[in-house]
Assembly symmetry: C2
Homo-oligomer: 326 residues x 2
C-alpha cells in the first residue's frame, strides 16, 4: 500500500487525473490516495496557489500525481521542486505507435537538474534593467550527474551525454562539465561524451540516434525536453518525473489547456505515462510495463483514441479502453 498525494489542479488536469485513477484501479498495486489542492482555481478562492497543507501532504507521501496548473504553474511547480528538493527532472523522449512522431524507435531520456541554475529566483531590478543569477553548485551538479549514470546503469542504457554551453559559460557550465567527467570515473563501462546545447538542439532533429541519456542544467533541460516532445508528436504524450531522495512527483508536461478544458476530450496518455514513471519509481516495474503496454496497444490500434490522435473517443472512453487491456 503506497501513500500517494493526488493534485488534480486546473482544467484538463482534473480530467486526465480522473482517467488515470480509473486505469490504475485495474493495476495490481494498492494505493492510499490523499487529495490536495493547488493551482489557479484554488488561488481564486484563497489567494494562494500552493498552500502549505498541500506541501505537507506531499511530504508525508511516497509519491505525488500532479495534473496541471494554469497561470500559476510556475509558482506551484517550481516551488514544489525546491521545497521537496526534487532535484531530478526525468523526461523520456520516446516514440509511440499511432502518433505524429517524426521518427520511429526514438528512445532517449533527458535528466534535468531541477532546483538551481536560472530557476533559483535571484533576480534584481537595476538602474538599467534587470539581472538574474544563474547558480551552479558543485553539490547539485554532482548529484544530478550521479543520478544520470545510476539511471543509465539501472535501465541498461549505454551512453550518457552532458549538455552545456561551457564555451561561453566558462565557470558555471565549466564546473558542470568538469563534475560530469569526474563522476563518470566511477562508471568506467559507460560510454560518454558532451555537447553544446545549441548543437544538441540541432542534433535532436538531424541525428537523434546519437542520444541515450542526456544530463543537463535546469533551463537547458526545460527547452530540450519540449523540443523532444515536438520530435515525438507534441505534448499529449509526454510524462515527467520530479524526483528527490524522499519523494517523486509525476506530472504530464502539458498544461491545463483552458481552450479544451471541460469538454472531456483531453488525451490522458501523458498523465497515464506519468503514472508509469511513478510505478517505475516505486520499483513496481512489472506493473509499469503492463500499464505502458496497455496504452501502447490502444495507440497502435488507433480505434479508441482522442481527437488529437486522430480518433473521436473521449478522455474516459480512451481510459476505459486502456483499462480493458490490463
Amino acid at each position: 500500500m503506497y501513500k500517494i498525494a493526488v493534485i488534480p489542479g486546473d482544467g484538463i488536469g482534473k480530467e486526465v487525473m480522473e482517467a488515470t485513477l480509473h486505469v490504475l484501479e485495474a493495476i495490481d498495486v494498492e494505493f492510499d490516495y490523499t487529495f490536495a489542492d493547488a493551482g489557479d482555481e484554488y488561488m481564486e478562492k484563497t489567494g494562494v496557489a500552493l498552500p502549505q497543507e498541500t506541501v505537507d501532504i506531499v511530504k508525508s507521501s511516497q509519491a505525488c500525481l500532479f495534473g496541471a496548473a494554469g497561470e500559476s504553474a510556475a509558482d506551484v511547480i517550481v516551488k514544489m521542486r525546491q521545497e521537496l528538493d526534487l532535484y531530478v527532472n526525468l523526461r523520456p523522449v520516446k516514440s509511440y505507435p499511432g502518433t505524429k512522431s517524426l521518427f520511429d524507435n526514438l528512445d532517449f531520456v533527458i535528466v534535468r537538474e531541477n532546483t538551481e541554475g536560472l530557476y533559483i529566483g535571484l533576480e534584481e531590478e537595476t538602474e538599467e534593467g534587470a539581472t538574474a543569477l544563474r547558480v551552479t553548485t558543485r553539490k547539485a551538479a554532482e548529484k544530478i550527474c550521479k543520478y544520470a549514470f545510476e539511471y543509465a546503469k539501472k535501465t541498461g542504457r549505454k551512453k550518457v551525454t552532458a549538455v552545456h554551453k561551457a564555451n561561453v559559460l566558462k565557470k558555471t557550465d565549466g564546473l558542470f562539465k568538469e563534475t560530469f567527467y569526474k563522476v563518470a570515473e566511477d562508471y568506467p563501462d559507460m560510454e560518454l561524451d558532451d555537447r553544446y546545447v545549441d548543437a544538441t538542439a540541432m542534433f535532436f532533429i538531424t541525428k537523434p540516434d546519437m542520444f541515450d541519456v542526456i544530463v543537463t542544467t535546469n533551463l537547458f533541460g526545460d527547452i530540450l525536453s519540449d523540443e523532444g516532445a515536438g520530435l515525438v508528436g507534441g505534448l499529449g504524450l509526454i510524462p515527467s518525473a520530479n524526483i528527490g531522495d524522499k519523494q517523486g512527483l509525476f506530472e504530464p508536461v502539458h498544461g491545463s489547456a483552458p481552450r479544451i478544458a471541460g469538454q472531456g476530450i483531453a488525451n490522458p496518455s501523458a498523465m497515464i505515462l506519468s503514472a508509469v514513471l511513478m510505478l517505475d519509481y516505486l520499483e513496481e516495474n512489472e506493473a509499469a510495463r503492463k500499464l505502458e503496454n496497455a496504452l501502447v496497444d490502444v495507440l497502435a490500434e488507433g480505434n479508441v483514441v482522442t481527437v488529437d490522435l486522430g480518433g473521436s473517443a473521449s478522455t474516459m472512453e480512451m481510459a476505459a479502453e486502456i483499462r480493458s487491456k490490463l
Copy 2:
C-alpha cells in the same frame, strides 16, 4: 566600392571563403577587400586569437566576411560582437530545394539580441560552485525589438513573435516582454504575439508555420537558431549576420570542421548565403537576389553539389557552377 574586411580564419573557413570570393567576382558590385587574421592558427603563432589590428580593420570597413574559427570561436566572435556593438544576430530559417529540410516552404527569421544576457561575461567562482549573471538592459531590449519590427516592415513580413521565459525569469524576461509590447505600439499594422522558449522549441517542429519574425534574447536565440538549422537540414546551409549601427559581420553558422578541413569538400552554401545577407545589408538587394537564385538553381539541379548534399563536387567546383549561373 565597398570596403570589406575578410577573415578566413581556420579550417574550412578558408576554403568556403575562397569559394565565396570567387563567386562574388561575378557579381556586379565592387568590393575593396582587406584580409585579416583571427582564430586558432593565428593564436598558435602569436598567443592571441583576435588581435586588435583585426578589430581595427573591421571597424574601418563597412562589412566583414568571416569564415570560421576553431576552438577559439567563442573568444573571437563573442568579443567581436561586443567590441563592435553588433547588437543584432539575424538568422534566416529557410528551406532550400535539394536539401534535407524537414519541411518545404519554411521561411522565418530569428532576430537574436547579440551583446548581453548570459554572454556578458560576468561569472564568478563561489565557495559552493559558480554563478553567472544574466543581464537584460532596457536599452538593448528596445534596440533589438525595434530592429525586429523595422526588419519585418522592410521585408514585408507580417508577424513578430517575442520568445522568452517570463514565467520563471520574471524580472529579466518580464522586462524583455514588456519592452516588446511597448515598442510594438509604434507598429500598429504588425501582427504580434509572445511565446515561452520551451514551447517555441516544440512548435518549431510541430507548427513551424506560426513563425515569421522571432525576436529573443542572446542564448535562447543561439539555441533556437541551431534548432532551426536542424529543421532545414543542418548547418551546411545556414548563414548569419551580426549587425550594428556601423558595421555588419557575416558568417556561416558552421564551424571550422577540422575533420573535413583540407580536403576541399566543404559545402560553400552557408558562406555564400552569408554574402547574400551582406549584399542585403549593403542594400544591394538586386545583386543579393541574383546570387541567392544562382545558388538555389544549383541546389535544385543537384548535379554539381558537395558530398553532404548528395553530390560529389568539390567546394570550388560547386562555387564555379554557381558562378556560371550569374
